[in-house]
């Protein structure tokens, strides 16, 4: 059966050029970068080359990159490490309601430890209001953490403005760029961020490796102690194979960004408008224009997301949903609820995230298969006839 992968915001396949360098560093250049012998020196060279590749993609200096075990560790490191370092300067942190749990949960952990936490709301399109941020600032604010682009609805946040405010007030600013890297330009010379988290497996690199950008001058207390690797900021023998995979993936993503971005946006718009034209009672979730070029998130009223995902899967289409029934919890997505969506509409949400493997043919197949699935589920839904009105 034809299989179409539309879940690139969950993870991506490792591209062959990346797999090649990973394999080389598992079998041949396997040395420990801390060793003095030629094996170690060889691995050290690869490590530093990868650091340069990562730095180049975001226009940073190599020494500003710390390798981590992924986006989650990078976010935790940024939030927990900076607040510990700057503890004497204040105990108030600001974040948003639509952050990934890798940001929200460390912030809540700090709250339990006595920090004051402000969670900014978002508008109906899933965007933070800069005025809300200004009002939330106090002399005690030490850290602002707002994501670059949201993982569920793809909304792009005004982090340039937020960063400018943070800089003016001398407050540290962290952004989770896990979803934006490789999809839209990320340039730390243009974005006034002090800390920025990224992950390899969202841009055709391997799982289990990521990085934190730390602007020169910004200080972090380490979270992992040991052999003093990464300039004592993150101990542990470097995951050399993963790190060179990250470096290669970042290099290729940077090279292809200017062609891939408009290609994905075109496919996205065809998928979005096609589904909305063919199926009644569909709502676009997220911002109509300020959204990632690969993100489609729609709510299909009167049907539930997991039923849709199961039906799509039977046709070979892989997508995801903000419905509670797919998360293992009883509540639908915190992102959709923060956007003011009713529970029942959030339950009917489906996210399709496009990637390099998707073609115009794939989109046409989805547009052909999708409407009868919704029609079938609606014909079984007790909500459909009763309130068959437009949203």
């Amino acid at each position: 059966m034809k299989r179409i992968y539309l879940d690139h915001s969950a993870t991506t396949p490792v591209r062959s050029e990346v797999a090649e360098v990973i394999c080389e560093h598992l079998t041949e250049k396997f040395g420990n970068p801390s060793s003095v012998h030629s094996f170690g020196r060889e691995a050290r060279e690869s490590l530093e080359k990868a650091r340069e590749q990562v730095a180049a993609m975001i226009n940073a200096k190599p020494e500003e990159i710390i390798f981590t075990s992924g986006g989650t560790e990078a976010d935790n490191m940024a939030i927990l490490g900076s607040t510990e370092k700057y503890l004497g300067q204040g105990k108030h942190i600001i974040t948003s309601a639509i952050e990934h749990h890798a940001v929200l949960h460390p912030c809540e952990h700090l709250q339990q430890k006595g920090f004051k936490l402000t969670i900014l709301p978002v508008d109906e399109h899933g965007i933070v209001n800069v005025d809300d941020l200004k009002k939330a600032l106090t002399p005690d604010t030490v850290l602002i953490s707002i994501m670059h682009a949201n993982n569920e609805v793809g909304s792009i946040q005004p982090i340039e403005e937020i960063g400018a405010i943070a800089r003016e007030k001398g407050i540290l600013f962290h952004t989770d760029a896990v979803q934006s890297l490789g999809k839209i330009p990320v340039d730390v010379q243009k974005l006034p961020v002090d800390l920025l988290a990224g992950s390899a497996h969202k841009l055709y690199g391997p799982k289990g490796v990521g990085f934190l950008y730390v602007r020169k001058g910004a200080k972090l207390s380490p979270r992992i102690f040991g052999g003093g690797q990464e300039k004592k900021r993150r101990s542990g023998t470097e995951n050399i194979a993963g790190i060179v995979g990250l470096g290669k993936a970042m290099e290729l993503a940077a090279q292809e960004l200017s062609t891939e971005m408009p290609r994905l946006a075109e496919l996205r718009d065809r998928l979005l408008t096609g589904l909305m034209d063919k199926i009644p009672h569909v709502k676009l979730n997220g911002h109509p224009t300020l959204r990632l070029p690969n993100n489609v998130n729609l709510s299909f009223q009167f049907v539930e997301g997991e039923s849709l995902l199961l039906s799509l899967d039977m046709k070979g289409i892989a997508a995801s949903s903000g419905s509670a029934c797919t998360s293992g919890s009883l509540d639908p997505s915190h992102v959709l609820l923060a956007m003011g969506m009713a529970h029942e509409v959030a339950h009917g949400s489906v996210r399709m995230t496009l990637g390099s493997v998707n073609t115009a043919e794939d989109i046409e197949y989805v547009l052909e298969v999708f409407p009868p699935i919704v029609e079938r589920l609606r014909s079984m839904s007790p909500l459909y006839n009763r309130e068959g009105k437009a949203m």
Partner: protein
Amino acid sequence: MYSAKVMDHFTNPRNVGEIENPSGVGEVGNAACGDIMKLTLQIEDNVIKDVKFKTFGCGAAIATSSMVTEMVKGKTIKEALDITNKAVAEALDGLPPIKMHCSNLAASALHAAIKDWQAKKIAEA
């Protein structure tokens, strides 16, 4: 994550629809939690002659609804009242643990429909 039986009932649900002028109607769940089941019964001489369902919900919600309609058709009221949510899940070769709580409401919908029929009978008498 789902058994083959669940997938069968999800893909080919039995007895979908609504009976016109039903003897009893049962509706349980709510849209906020993601599952609503509506069961309609036709009862003659204390026997369930026909049953249909409509469900808004996940795969488990649809499969349990379909399964309960199969289990109850032709049964007496007394037999129908003995069917539990747990028995419905077992008939489907089990459900994932998280679904046992939130999406396993089909027997509750059945019992609600029988209660509705009983209340109507009392009102008529």
